[in-house]
């Protein structure tokens, strides 16, 4: 199945989704409050369903939900705090508060993973690297080369090992350590040799020419991007203030208390649901124009 394409953030400058997803990730990581975590998880899940599709999200949840359950269930075994005793598990007492804390932390972890997966679907590597400041023009190039090298090394490592395993006439296989040393030394020599031609290719196209480098920006910020950024910045400030307020009041132990006013959670919900809402609105708008 083809990967679903996001459209809401295609037409924006990369700084807009970068700011929005950075805010969503920060909220998910820092706001340890059941309501904040729940809305963040819901928002991340909705966006993942829209941007990455049901199959990819389901495949992710296949390991994320057991992780959530594991953290939820393990926490009471390590932290026997709280005041509402649910049951005894051998010598350990399992309290509702401890279970709720575990569920919140599990939900937080899954939400963070989902936000990163969603951000990766929108902010492709080249869009992300193009955000590097003008003063660091070689940084995207270096990072881009490093990003290319890792999958290339992994692919070649698979090729080397597959070739060796296919050469059954060569006799018994060497030990794990020996095979690892053989493969890594082969990959190192291979990469070093190739780097000579790559360096030539760079010099042949003016690298080290001594001239001041310019940079090709595939995207240019427009006034509407600036307006969107300003709006996101305002939302982030309000959300941070409200999230700090509700988190400061909230206590898990000894008894869950200090939920705070409901309206203080509204900015958190807005921020968490904004990516999915933007994507949905863009799709509906596009469908309406057909």
């Amino acid at each position: 199945m083809a990967v679903k394409r996001t459209i809401a953030f295609d037409a924006c400058h990369a700084t807009v989704p970068a700011a929005l997803f950075a805010g969503a990730v920060a909220l998910a990581m820092l706001a340890v409050h059941p309501v904040c975590v729940a809305v963040s998880l819901a928002g991340a899940l909705l966006f993942s369903l829209l941007a990455r599709g049901g199959a990819a999200t389901a495949r992710g949840l296949a390991w994320q939900l057991p992780l959530l359950a594991l953290v939820c269930l393990l926490n009471p075994l390590f932290s026997a705090s709280g005041s509402t005793l649910l049951f005894k598990f051998g010598p350990r007492s399992v309290y509702l508060e401890s279970l709720a804390y575990g569920a919140t932390m599990g939900g937080l972890m899954v939400a963070v993973v989902l936000w990163f997966e969603g951000a990766a679907a929108v902010l492709t590597q080249d869009r992300l690297l193009a955000l590097a400041p003008r003063r660091a023009r070689t940084l995207p190039l270096l990072l881009g080369m490093a990003f290319q090298l890792v999958p290339q090394l992994l692919g070649r490592s698979r090729e080397v090992r597959a070739t060796l395993s296919a050469c059954t006439a060569a006799g018994a296989r060497s030990g794990v350590c020996e095979a690892l040393t053989r493969t890594s030394s082969m990959l190192l020599t291979w990469s070093l040799e190739e780097s000579i031609e790559r360096a030539d290719s760079m010099r042949a196209r003016g690298w080290e020419s001594g001239l001041p480098r310019t940079s090709y920006r595939p995207e240019r910020p427009r006034p509407r991007d600036m307006a969107a950024l300003a709006g996101i910045a305002a939302l982030l400030i309000v959300t941070a203030t409200c999230a700090w307020a509700v988190c400061a009041q909230w206590r898990f132990y000894p008894r869950m208390s200090g939920l705070g006013p409901w309206w203080a959670c509204v900015p958190c919900a807005l921020l968490a649901l904004l990516p999915a809402a933007a994507e949905l609105a863009a799709r509906l708008r596009e469908r309406g124009r057909r």
Binding site: M1, V3, A55, Q125, D126, L129, R137, L141, G144, M145, F147, Q148, P151, Q152, R156, E159, V160, A162, T163, S165, A166, C167, T168, A169, A170, G171, A172, S174, R182, S185, M186, T189, W190, E193, E194, E197, R198, D200, S201, M202, R203, A204, R205, G206, W207, S209, G210, L211, P212, R213, T214, S215, Y216, R217, P218
Partner: protein
Amino acid sequence: MSALAFDRVTFAYAGTEKPVLLDVSLEVPEGAFALLAGATGSGKSTLLRLAKPEVAPVGELSGTVRAHGEDVRSLDAAASARAVGYVFQSPDAQMVCDTVWHEMAFGLENLGVPEPEMRRRVAETATYLGMGPWFRDRVAELSGGRRQVLALASVLAMRPRAILLDEPTSMLDPVTEQAFLALLFRANRELGMTVVLATHAPGPMLDYATCAYVLEGGRAREVALEELRPATLDSLTGITHRQDGSCPTGGKTRHSDEKDVRPVLSLDDVWFRYDRDADWVLRGCDLAVGAGEVRALLGANGCGKSTLLQVVAGVLGPRRGRARNACAGDQALLPQDPRAVLACETVRDELMEWSASSGRYGAAEVDAALERLGLAGCPGRHPYDLSGGQQQLLALEKLLLVRPRLLLLDEPTKGLDRAARAAVAGRVRAAASGGATVLLATHDAAFVSSVADTASLVFDGEVTTTELAAEFLRESWLYSNSRNGS
């Protein structure tokens, strides 16, 4: 005024006495499409690199190299970029950036071209070469053919007056090679760009070229284009496949798809894809290869030949269907890149690596192999110091020393010159004479003609047809023409 002029150029690499180029004088007229032919190691790359000081080899140079009348060594970076562009052989190694648009802009960024001008040049070049549909793709996901077009585009965007290309199509299949050459030809004729192309297989370029030079023994001479044209689809070793149905291995050709022959290898309705979300690479693929048969698999890049070899080798398991291999415990696989086999510091160690584990050969056989490779005098050389052809032969020799009953070869003549291809053909035939079954994937019709008993065309993930090799080549619209020979 000539676009490129070499005036009594003699060059010796640093640390060597013997010059690789001897008193070379040649002039390439402006707007020409010039071929620089010669075997591997004849000095073609050295000559081209001397015209681009940024990549010129280190050594002792006498004589002068001029681009459009100016000594290339006196040009600054910007002037050099305007005068001469350079495209390298490897579609992988010369890529620097992660995306197509960034790769195209890389040279312009280095020269400090202002952004509006850069956008215009990138857009015009991409449009000219028809790169629009894949302009935003990642380089790692491009095919070899597209990578080479990108390499050309990233040089064309700098708008040089002359472009030098070092074996740019040696890693491409014949169809992709023609598509690349057609683009190059357009740039030459429509934009007036001088093209100098170094190659060991000039056959496919002759229809586009306006002049040709041959490098032999360090000296260059101009030759008529017709002198470089291969007469027919010829055999590499002088022995073409017999028309009476007998095969080079001496026996009667076995056509394994006939029902009375029990195959050593068989694929029965095999389906394979690399990922559950990916497209099928093999779709209901059937194949049967008999004992002692030399079977060639032909087909375009990406048709599934390499995957088929890996399924046969047991490296990949079919998602559906059955793969049977009676020689699974006694086989050897030569991948496309011999560097996936070469693991040691010296040529001798390389050949000795599997001596103890296989128990099938010793130092005497290795000495004989070194003799065959012409490396008896330098067993201590690092395999990476050998030419591409020698590396391929070394890897093949390493596999043959363990005397596998089944030999699987993936593009064994890719990028090799005629002499190296003939040597590979000779060794494969020797293995087949020794009783080995050979399954090889290739685009090289002359190689097939020299070694194969039978040939199968792989298309759209399945074996479309299997015939006797000579019959297949004679009837083939794709492989019977002389463009593929050299």
